[in-house]
Symmetry: C2
Subunit: 206 residues, 2 copies
DNA sequence: GTCTATAGAATGATAGAC
DNA sequence: GTCTATCATTCTATAGAC
């Protein structure tokens, strides 16, 4: 779809990579090798460009990281904002968040993968981790409310429950591939099934 | 437990770090900053040693990684071997594996954390990832058998179910801390509860 | 001529290894 | 400490489409 010049039909100047294309390749490479293990020379080679040509598109290696993280975080936050704007119970809102998070993970796989592997080695990374921490905290609030409503079992700590649910959700980036045979929407349902009802057979024998 | 000289009571020669202590600090640092982002100079500084002194203990930075990965993998494999040696149903064996995996994760947190973050950037990493893949495959077999027994719901693909369960299990390394207020054994029960019964309230109203 | 993408050469800093 | 290799980055200049 977004391969070359067919997106922004008429572009002036010399043909070649634009910002978007460089970013996509960069994030892919960061995910393959890890951000720190990927040198600008690696990226240049993958693109068939010189290093200096890359610096025409971006001010720094870290800027590439920052843009990708912004994409991932803003989309995840949008899901949560949308859920909180609903006129619904906390349990229903939580369900909306889980479904939405799986959708964002699968749709924005590269940038979210990058986000989930951060170590906090720079100011950019620390800031992203902080936004992620805030996201988690708000979801924990939802879980706690759903427990109070009696819609979620209360014998598991809300913080632990949230971490387990999102551990399951986030782990999807480790194996989901867009070209695979797993449908994102069905995957979201499977996640919800396991999280809410568990893997024991449905109680249809009595 | 394994802090300093109290392990191998009498050690001869010049006082200072031994292999084990250097390894522990190295793995801790690798987890804090990431393996690639951690330089030998970082490690030397943390230990208060010169770089050359470090190379007296280890042949290379990668050797440190290899030893840690061996620890994590052998302990996880031992859990699986133990489960398969049991005279029990697949479902019961799976439960044993999940409980054991959480135990290994919490007991060997640093080395398992390192294992779960590998990217495959070297021969050592590729080999470790391959052993991990084999582990996952064997667990998937257990899940499939448990489904055939009727002890696990069969409307979720065995591969997806396995990945979701272990996504939940493995995510524990992201937040569990030995000095925290979460008991490892209770955590394992919580994981099993969510995986098997889900977070919906127990059906005690009818 | 103007715009965009591109190289080449060289910077200082830091890497792992010994 | 010292080695060589590689790191991210910058400067200056040019190639090609409008």
């Amino acid at each position: 779809m977004t391969t070359s010049a067919d997106t922004a039909a008429a572009r002036r100047g010399r043909p070649g990579y634009d910002r978007r294309q460089v970013l996509d390749v960069a994030v892919t490479l960061f995910n393959e090798q890890g951000y720190d293990a990927t040198s600008v020379a690696d990226l240049a080679e993958r693109l068939g460009l010189s290093k200096s040509a890359l610096y025409h598109h971006f001010a720094s290696k870290e800027e590439l990281l920052a843009i990708a993280l912004e994409t991932a975080l803003s989309r995840l936050e949008a899901v949560l904002d949308g859920a909180l704007a609903l006129d619904a119970s906390a349990a229903d809102r939580l369900e909306h968040v889980i479904r939405g998070a799986v959708a964002v993970l699968t749709a924005e796989l590269p940038s979210v993968t990058l986000l989930l592997r951060l170590r906090g080695n720079s100011a950019v990374e620390v800031a992203a981790l902080e936004r992620r921490r805030l996201f988690d905290q708000r979801v924990t609030g939802l879980v706690r409310s759903a427990q109070s409503e009696g819609r979620l079992r209360a014998d598991i700590d809300a913080g632990v429950a949230t971490r387990l649910i999102f551990g399951m959700v986030n782990s999807v980036v480790e194996w989901y591939r867009p070209d695979g045979r797993v449908d994102p929407a069905l995957l979201a349902e499977d996640v919800l099934t396991v999280a809410l009802s568990g893997l024991l057979p449905r109680d249809d024998h009595g």
